[in-house]
Amino acid sequence: MPNYAYILLIPLQPLATFIVLGLFGRKYFKTFSGTIGTVSLLISTIVSFVAAIQYFFVDGKVNGIYQKIIAFKYTWLEFSPNVSIDMGIIVDPISVMMLVVVTFVSLMVHVFSLGYMKGEDRFATYYAFLSLFTFSMLGLILSSNIFQVYIFWELVGVSSFLLIGYYFEKPSAVAASKKAFIVTRFADLGFLIGILLLGFYGGTLDIGILIERLTAVQSPEYTAMAAAGFLGVSALTWALTLVFIGGAGKSAMFPLHIWLPDAMEGPTPVSALIHAATMVVAGVYLVARLFPVFNMDAAALQVVTYTGAFSALLAAVIACTQTDIKRVLAYSTMSQIGYMMFALGVSKYGGEDGLGYMASMFHLFTHAFFKSLLFLGAGAVIHMVHSNDMKDMGGLRKLMPVTHIAFLIACLAIAGIPPFAGFFSKEEILLAAFHSNKLIYGVALFTAALTAFYMFRLYFSIFWSKESTVQSHGEGPLSMKLPLVILAACAVGVGFIPFSSLVTSDGEALETHMDITFSIAPVGLTLIATLLASYLYKKENDKPAKLAASFDGFYQAAHKKFYVDEVYLFITKKIVFPLVGQPIAWVDKYIVDGFMNLLASITAKISALIKGLQSGKVQNYALYFFSGIAALAVLFIYLWK
């Protein structure tokens, strides 16, 4: 058995950094704390690369199948003879892949923040929180016990709360961090009950044993769980759906996504870390981790599929109407995670049918790079313009050449234009959807086109559109440019990694074929959407003037683009935006959000209503006391037989 115990070092490194910086940072190394955090994480990153190379290329494979290895296990607490809570480290393709992603993106964010957060008053605190977050996230992906997952899951929530609320002088940041915390807590509730159900029927909290027991159709655990039911749905479906609800909360799936756009109040590098590559994919990771069990239950998988597909579409439509660049990115994240979710949903376990699983993980992997690049690029832009609004931007390509090129590459990657990374992963997802569910495939295809449209709308609005009026103060220090360059290189390169032979549902390499004819539809649609975006947004206020001019030379214009233009303008400006996009944004803002507010106000109302009970008069108290006894007595002597 190969030895991977050294992986323990990877999460412990940021934990140590957190403790050191948290306790002594503000006093002793106020300015060095960034360097300390970064160097410490660099070591973690190197170790994870070593682990990845060892696992994927040296000794992870036995008989052509990647093994699940428990690298480290410590029985932390025995709750009862059957149920023990272990602290373990699981090494399998997805955990190793996530290790690389999390440490690498976190390292980039650490480096970027050196420049971006420079001069902040609580610089050391910021790095302490970053380290805490990285630690919790690493702990989450390495967990071998479902309770351990839950502990780190909550820790991730706590540390992201701290990070989003970092600017706690800003009331909006405070409100946002609270909202994120409470909404995800609601979702975690589902997760908690799901864990209790799985633990109760499975008789263990160990993920490996749980999977083993619940995937064998004859096992007593599976039989009991499939037979037991509540409201006509089997306990297995309940448990998995509840676990998925927990995942949907963290991964911002509809209708639990409402916290994500608001969470953009946090520092931008934080968004690059939390809302691009790590925390928001935790839900996808969770489903993937328990995928063999999900595979046993078609109903739960359908919930995953449709929630994912709907979220992908909804978010893409909303993204087209936003003007805050970080919110566009937030919705785009939600949309891309929707892709990952439904890819899992349409997948099966093992062999050729496991394509969706592989595609989902592949997309998670490539998305991490280009999305964090987009966020960091947006951070650089905000750093320059001091505003989040598209209206204040435009023409920045000359002032920020490095950011411009990096951002362009990221846009090409997320739009899925070959040979950039997003193309490969999205292609696999579409293929998986095509083979199992045509409706989902249609939604995915349309969403892909929308993705290209809103991303290039964003790109042109920031970098082209009009002449820049911003007073340039330089593009930022090397520490801000370097991560952009590195991530841009990744956004080009990572698509060529032979992912299908490394990360699959059952560990066996999967043959994939690039089918050129299949790619025509998505790539063609994407290109059209890109061109439309460039046509509309490349130059500011161009269209009305052109339209007016066209009336003079009607003949020349009519054949060329006038007609198309008008139709397009009519459809987008008059129909799509006001009649589709805005209502959806409205529903999102008032109905979904409003429902949450309603819940809060109802709670407050009931609370006010029963205040009368607490009158301060002892004789009343005695009355209630006695009524309580009488009610119990009547209930149990006469009614409960």
């Binding site: 932390w76 607490l77 025995e78 709750f79 009862s80 149920v83 809570i85 309770f147 839950y150 502990i151 909550e154 820790l155 706590v158 609320g165 706690f168 405070v174 609270k178 915390f181 409470i182 807590r185 609601f186 509730l189 908690l192 009950i193 209790l196 159900l197 633990g199 109760f200 509540f230 809060a600 709670t603 407050a604 009931i606 609370s607 006010a608 029963i610 205040k611 009970l613 607490q614 301060g616 002892v618 009343n620 108290y621 005695a622 209630y624 006391f625 006695f626 009524s627 309580g628 006894i629 119990l632 007595a633 149990f636 002597i637 409960w640």
Partner: protein
């Protein structure tokens, strides 16, 4: 039985009694300053806590009137720890109090009562202990001698307890009438579920519910907590609840096991009521003590869920949670009592921008509130989770679901306080407080407890290994 065994079985009660006598002698002797008295008393209480750990032995005395097991010794140790912590924390308040020794005499008398109650093997003994642990407390609640609210609290406490005791005693006598015995071990055999027995059992239960302030027997709690001095409030909400819960678990699991089909649904209904009402009230409180009072009502609801599991895990998780609850609640009360004693401010709105002036106290309070809310990695998280697992063993998922939902609601109001401390503006934040050594020690112990009880698995394993014989 040898005389030595006799003393060893009664050692914790004897130590308390000796301390009580010592206090009386000190009172009669020459005048000492309050500071030196506080040092002496706190050292004595610490020794009392340490003494609880040596020479443990299991056995019965006085015809099963008094029994002790390793678990009971552990429970008494938890109470000893709690009273020591409370005593350390009330340093600032007691330093200037004229009747310091009387206060301790009252508290220790109630503690002695609780010890007898926990060790009782007979309903009469139980009743005696319960009364002994209640009546002196009413006097203690009146110890802010010049505050009307304090007298009101004492009055309400004594009247409500008299009421509940009367009903409890009525229940006991009916039980005696139907079974002919008061000894726990014999009582079990005679329980047959006749209506009169059920009625008397419900009366008995209501006595318990009154003490642990489960809804609808909780109404006295808020008024008493608000009016009483903070130290007494902390004592009421931690020590006296814990003591009754200890007895409750063991009595339900052993003596009243034949009536499980009655008390299981009662527990389910009342635990939900208690959690929901406690939460709804806590949402709107502005007085910090009242807020903690209602939040502790909700915490008791969670404990009841753990009890409903009726298993070894049930006992273990309840005792484990109570230990955590002692640390978390006392950390919160410790900060509040310091602020209240030194500035007289007790409202949550007074704590706005508390962080700007008192960062250390703010962090301690935050950790305590997070533990009460059940946020990892604080111990409260583990405690609540274990209670839910224990409760889930019965397969009643609606109960668990509603309880878990309430965890989120409780989260909201704990977070509201944290937000006030760190994020709200305040023109006149509470001035910087110089923390005296003793309260500081107590707060550090509490924080260490909150962190370590969760992370060091030995604690739970130890409690679990003792929780046999249900």
């Amino acid at each position: 039985m040898m005389l030595v065994d006799f003393f060893i079985l009664l050692k914790q009660e004897l130590v308390i009694t000796v301390i009580l006598f010592l206090l009386l002698f000190i009172k009669l002797g020459k005048d000492r300053t309050n500071e030196s008295l506080l040092i002496i008393i706190n050292v004595l209480l610490f020794l009392n806590f340490v003494a609880g750990f040596c020479c443990c032995q299991e056995g019965m005395l006085f015809n099963e009137m008094f029994r002790t097991t390793n678990l009971i010794v552990l429970e008494k140790n938890i109470l000893n720890l709690a009273i020591w912590l409370i005593s350390l924390q009330s340093y600032a308040w007691l330093k200037t109090h004229k009747h310091l020794i009387e206060f301790y005499i009252l508290l220790l008398t109630t503690l002695l009562g609780m010890f007898f109650m926990i060790s009782s093997g007979n309903l009469l003994m139980f009743y005696l202990g319960l009364e002994m642990s209640t009546i002196p407390l009413a006097a203690a609640a009146n110890f802010d001698l010049f505050k009307r609210q304090s007298s009101e609290a004492a009055m309400k406490l004594i009247i409500s307890s008299a009421f509940s005791s009367a009903l409890l005693l009525f229940g006991i006598s009916l039980l005696y009438g139907t079974s002919g015995t008061l000894t726990f071990s014999e009582l079990t055999i005679h329980l047959n579920g006749a209506p009169l027995q059920i009625f008397s059992f419900i009366l008995l239960l209501s006595g318990f519910f009154f003490k642990i302030s489960a809804v609808p027997f909780h109404l006295w709690t808020a008024d008493v907590y608000e009016g009483a001095p903070v130290a007494v409030t902390a004592y009421l909400s931690v020590v006296s609840k814990a003591a009754v819960l200890f007895v409750f678990v063991s009595v339900l699991y052993t003596t009243f096991k034949p009536l499980a089909n009655i008390w299981y649904p009662v527990l389910c209904i009342l635990s939900l009521l208690t959690i929901i009402v406690g939460n709804l009230f806590a949402l709107r409180q502005n007085n910090f003590k009242r807020f903690l009072a209602f939040s502790s009502i909700a915490q008791v609801g969670f404990i009841l869920i753990g009890i409903s599991g009726s298993s070894q895990e049930g006992t273990a998780s309840v005792i484990y949670f109570i230990l955590i609850y002692v640390f978390s609640n006392l950390a919160a009360f410790g900060v509040v009592s310091l602020v209240s004693a030194l500035t007289g401010k007790e409202n949550i709105s007074d704590f706005k921008a508390f962080y700007t002036t008192n960062p250390l106290l703010s962090w301690i309070l935050t950790i305590a509130l997070f533990s009460l809310a059940g946020v990892p990695p604080t111990a409260g998280f583990f405690g609540k989770f274990f209670l839910l697992i224990a409760g889930a063993a019965k397969g009643n998922y609606i109960l668990i679901g509603v309880a878990a939902l309430n965890m989120v609601i409780s989260f909201y109001y704990y977070l509201r306080v944290v937000k006030a401390i760190f994020m709200d503006d305040n023109a006149e934040p509470i001035a910087k407080i110089k923390i005296p050594a003793m309260p500081k020690l107590a707060l550090y112990i509490c924080v260490a407890g909150i962190v370590l009880t969760g992370l060091v698995s030995y604690v739970y394993d130890y409690i679990y290994s003792l929780s046999t014989g249900f």
